[in-house]
Symmetry: C2
Amino acid sequence: MTIAKHAEAPGAVTGPSQGGDLPRPSPLSPRAAQIVAAARELLEEEGPGALTMRALAERIGIRAPSLYKHFADKAAVEAALIEQGLAEVGTVLYAALDAPEPVVSVLEAYRRAALAAPNMYRLTTSGPLPRHRLAAGLEEWAGTPFFLAAGDPHLAQALWSFAHGMVILELDGRYPEGSDLGRTWSEGARAFTARKAH
Amino acid sequence: MTIAKHAEAPGAVTGPSQGGDLPRPSPLSPRAAQIVAAARELLEEEGPGALTMRALAERIGIRAPSLYKHFADKAAVEAALIEQGLAEVGTVLYAALDAPEPVVSVLEAYRRAALAAPNMYRLTTSGPLPRHRLAAGLEEWAGTPFFLAAGDPHLAQALWSFAHGMVILELDGRYPEGSDLGRTWSEGARAFTARKAH
DNA sequence: CGTCATGGCTAACTATGTTAGCCCCTGGGG
DNA sequence: CCCCAGGGGCTAACATAGTTAGCCATGACG
């Protein structure tokens, strides 16, 4: 996910529009798709540490080396998962744009999506991105809703950073026990909506 | 780092004060301290992947198994690094409080500290924290400046989330090439300072 | 009917964290 | 003076990771 550097008209919906034009993720053979599906189950159900080539192979009833007939290496499997993650979060965010308060709505949708699939979220958004392995335009497409909601590229990046910070710190258990994160989210949302109105 | 749930008076400096009272990090024998120092060099100079027990041992002229005479496991060495990281970032943040615009100043200090030692930053702030291995109070102490700058616990958490999101996304190269992150930072800073003034 | 790509397999290599068990040295008590 | 306890090294070895090499069955197709 990335927010375009759009120097163009701030409010107007310029290039990437409603969300219909999802850049096609890299095509996968049926077998490869099955592997990715299994990888996702493994990741979500048992955490990142459980996503090993041997465990993945076992889940679909083959041996680890056979996986390499379908993917160059483990990172390639992860890249396919990242594409899924970007596509899904993007879809959710575009849908959230159609609301009276898009900034608030996008933030809520972002949090909901992340908490619904925490390990996918972490994989998708943490660490350096293997961009060369991802479908061109996908990353930017997924981030564009922030721009569409904020109306300004810098505010959009700030908004995205806030959202990501909130989510990842929550997932990592970094907030103190009894924190009322709902209030923290709305505090941030208010700060950014106010700022949006110049 | 964590921001206390202070239900008390928002503006007043209540519990943790100026920054003089850094909770003492866990004491280390001289040899252990040397190991941690070497680990830090390894981490900063060659990245997280280079921080292996064998490489660490070699750097101080011993064999890997001997490290276990000083630390229970690799995570214990990392915990010691995390303590260093928290202590250092906290120190910097407390120092930044003494400025006309503490919110802006704390944000700037945070970014500067993170970029100066990116791998330390990542280790310190990413993934679940091994809290039982850390000196009690250290994490909260390091986060308190955000509270002191923001004056309100929820705004403080929002501010911290924004700062962390900005930093980690920058370190991970998630922003598009030509992004003017300076402007994004000040956009966020403005949003939060405005919000601070109710 | 051969042949060749597809997609399995076993065996094995390397790197990593970690454990078991040995040994040397040094310093304090009997 | 000896002894012996423990701190702090060492080698050997194990389990688990990703990954490679090389072999073999199967099925589509000229």
